[in-house]
């Protein structure tokens, strides 16, 4: 088996406080099970997580930089869609 034949996986880790899974990085692994274990070894060494998702990078459909303007520019001037008119208390975490 050559080095390049190990597929790329994307790793998502959930912290312990009911947060969402967050993309933390990627890795190579021979299969799904080993990807999960490699993710544990690479991305949860410092007490970061209670749950891990791994998914083959090729399974992710991503938006293209070429489509950046038609995709995202239209929302740039719709300030009324943002809840920016509320005062946010300083001690609210994760906002």
């Amino acid at each position: 088996m050559t080095r390049s034949s190990w597929p790329l996986y994307e790793v998502f880790v959930r912290g312990k406080r009911g947060l969402n899974h967050v993309h933390v990085g990627s890795l190579h692994a021979p299969d799904d099970e080993m990807a999960l274990r490699n993710a544990r070894d690479l991305y949860t060494r410092r007490n970061e997580g209670v749950s891990i998702w791994v998914v083959k990078a090729e399974s992710i459909t991503a938006s293209s930089p070429d489509e950046k303007d038609p995709f995202f520019a239209p929302s740039g001037d719709k300030v009324y869609r943002h809840p920016t008119f509320y005062a946010i208390p300083e001690d609210v975490p994760h906002l």
Binding site: R37, D41, E48, H94
Partner: protein, 294 residues
């Protein structure tokens, strides 16, 4: 409750730091009472278990930057660090029970080969040196972690509160080490002809040191209720190894066992040729610059 969000964070945690807080000391709240047993034997027993972890940790650390893949490099280093953590707690306990002015560093760095009490399986070269390869390394990891997990599961009930706590913590670590090894055995055995050959030869090599793991030492016999009699671990060990090998479609190795020398082996300070080289590498900085800190 003054703040509706307090419930989202654990006490003492930094609120705005999403990951990686809330570390705890492994032995918080554990009593340091020394049970009413022969202190010399208890010191020796802590050294045995500590030296197994320290010496094997040193061997695993040799893979750092040399594993077949970056991911495996980190995995083996993590396992080495788990074992180093166990070694520190156990050597500290040995120093405490011995009460002769030595600390964990003195025990790790300033003892000579004959004073080390690790089993010989921990010290042999299974790669990346000339004595082995990744297959041999995985074979040793399977044998060592299966044996030590069975030992620690029983040691968690020890009358020594520190040994019991170290074992309870170590069980979770060792369960992962064993799983990691088993996963790789399955993949090497089911991979290519060459990978299968590597794991078969690796198992044959390390198997020669298995009988020593289950030989009851006088130190263990002198500590009923505190030490675990390794002879009791054999059945569970054979069953677990049998399950993994069956799943991998491999036969149990039939290797002639490396016998004790005049009745003595690793637990008595009688080691293989590899041990001196290992200690030289592990100890030379500490010995050439005594008391150095950074």
């Amino acid at each position: 409750m003054d703040n509706a969000y307090d419930g989202l964070t654990d006490a003492g945690e930094e609120k705005h730091w999403a990951f990686g807080t809330g570390f705890t000391d492994a032995l918080t709240g554990v009593g340091r009472d020394i049970p009413a047993v022969d202190r010399e034997a208890l010191t020796a027993y802590c050294l045995m278990l500590g030296d197994d972890a320290l010496v094997y940790s040193q061997r695993l650390a040799e893979w750092c930057s040399r594993a077949p893949e970056l991911e495996e490099d980190v995995a083996l280093a993590n396992i080495a660090l788990d074992l180093l953590g166990q070694a520190r707690l156990l050597l500290s306990r040995a120093a405490e029970v011995e009460d002769a002015g030595r600390d964990e560093d003195a025990l790790a760095y300033l003892r000579d080969e004959r004073a080390f009490r690790n089993v010989r399986l921990a010290e042999i070269d299974c790669g990346p040196g000339p004595g082995g390869d990744f297959g041999t390394t995985i074979a040793r990891l399977l044998v060592f972690s299966t044996w030590r997990l069975a030992l620690f599961q029983r040691l968690a009930g020890s009358a020594d509160p520190v040994l019991a706590a170290v074992a309870a913590k170590g069980v979770k670590e060792l369960a992962y080490h064993r799983d990691h090894a088993a996963q790789w055995v399955l993949r090497l055995a089911g991979g290519t002809e060459y990978s299968r050959e590597r794991i078969v030869e690796g198992l044959a090599k390390v198997w020669a040191f298995t009988d020593e793991l289950f030989a009851t030492h006088p130190v263990e016999a002198a500590l009923p209720g505190v030490a675990v009699d390794p002879a009791e671990l054999r059945a569970e060990f054979d069953q677990v190894i049998g399950t993994v090998l069956t799943a991998a479609g491999l036969d149990l190795p039939e290797t002639r066992q490396v016998a004790p020398l005049a009745g003595q082996s690793g637990r008595d300070g009688i080691h293989t040729e590899a041990m001196g080289f290992l200690l030289a590498e592990m100890q030379h900085i500490a010995r050439s610059m005594p008391g150095a800190v950074w």
